[in-house]
Symmetry: C2
Subunit: 164 residues, 2 copies
C-alpha cells in the first residue's frame, strides 16, 4: 500500500512489532502520538485490505474506480465524474482507466454530445468480478473488527473532529 509515515521517533531502537515500537516511544505529547498512531493504523489496514484484493488481481485504486462505475451502471461515467468521486483529485483517473481497459474491465468511448468527454462503462466481466469480491470490503475483515460498536462510534466522532 502507499502511505508515507512521518515518524520522528524510531530513531534509536531496534524494530520489534510496530505496536511495541509505539509503546516504547516517548512522544512529545498525546497529539504527536495520535498522529503517528493514525498513520500506522491506516497503513496497517490498507495492507490487510490489499492482501484481500490481491487474489483478484486488482489494486485498491482500480477496485475503487470499478465500484464507482458499478454505482453508475448501466450508465457510463466520465473521467471527471470518476475524479470527483475518487476524492483523491491528484490521482490519475485516466491511467487507472487505461489499466482497467487493458484488462477488459471497462470500455471507453468518446461521448457524442460532448466530444471532450469520454464514456467509461463497466463490463460484464468486471461486474462478475466485483460480485465475487463483495465481502472482502469495508474493513470487516481487518483490525477494525476488534472494536466494539460503541468504540467504532467514538472513533468516528473523533476522526470527524480532526477533519473539521
Amino acid at each position: 500500500m502507499y502511505i508515507h509515515i512521518f515518524v520522528t521517533s524510531f530513531e534509536t531502537r531496534p524494530r520489534v512489532r510496530i505496536e511495541d515500537e509505539i509503546k516504547q516511544q516517548q512522544f512529545k505529547n498525546e497529539y504527536q502520538k495520535a498522529y503517528i498512531n493514525l498513520m500506522l493504523t491506516s497503513s496497517r489496514l490498507q495492507v490487510q485490505q490489499a492482501a484481500l484484493f490481491k487474489p483478484f488481481g486488482l489494486t485498491l485504486p482500480q477496485f475503487n474506480i470499478l465500484r464507482i462505475l458499478r454505482g453508475q451502471y448501466p450508465k457510463p461515467a466520465t473521467i471527471s465524474l470518476l475524479i470527483e468521486r475518487m476524492m483523491d483529485k491528484t490521482s490519475n483517473a485516466s491511467r487507472i482507466v487505461d489499466r482497467l481497459e487493458a484488462k477488459e474491465l471497462v470500455t471507453r468511448k468518446q461521448c457524442p454530445n460532448d466530444r471532450r468527454t469520454v464514456d467509461v462503462l463497466i463490463t460484464e466481466k468486471a461486474l462478475a468480478l466485483l460480485k465475487k469480491m463483495d465481502g472482502c470490503e469495508g474493513g470487516r475483515e481487518t483490525g477494525i473488527a476488534n472494536l466494539t460498536d460503541s468504540e467504532a462510534r467514538e472513533l468516528n466522532r473523533i476522526l470527524d473532529k480532526i477533519r473539521t
Copy 2:
C-alpha cells in the same frame, strides 16, 4: 500523498466536502464507516503535513530517513537499519538515499568491516535543514490539534486496539 482509499459508498452522489460526503452516506455499519473515515482522515493529515514540508524541498519519506539518520548521528546507518526503522519494509530505502545523496544531504560509502553494507551518514547541510524544520512536525499543526488531550488519548487507545 500516497493513500489508497477503498470507498464503497461514493457511487451515486455528487462531491461536496469530504466530511459532508461521509455524513450523507449510509454505511453498512459503524465499522465500515470507521474504516473509510480512518483512510480519509489519515490522507487529509498527510496532505497537511506534506504541505508543511514542501517549502523545504523534502518528501515525507526523505524526511523520515533523515530523521532516522539524525538519530544515529554521528554514527552512520546501513540501508538495512534504515529499512528496519522505516517500518515500510517494502519501500525502497536505496533509492530514497539516492535522492538524498544527490541533494548532498547524506554521504554513502562502503563499510570496510562488511563490504556488503554501506555507511550512510547525514551531512551538516541536512542537520541544518532539519533544525529549520523542527516545529512543523508531529501533527501539532494539523487537524489533530482540534482534539482535546483526553480525546487524543482515547483515539490512541482505540487505534491500539485496532492493531492488536
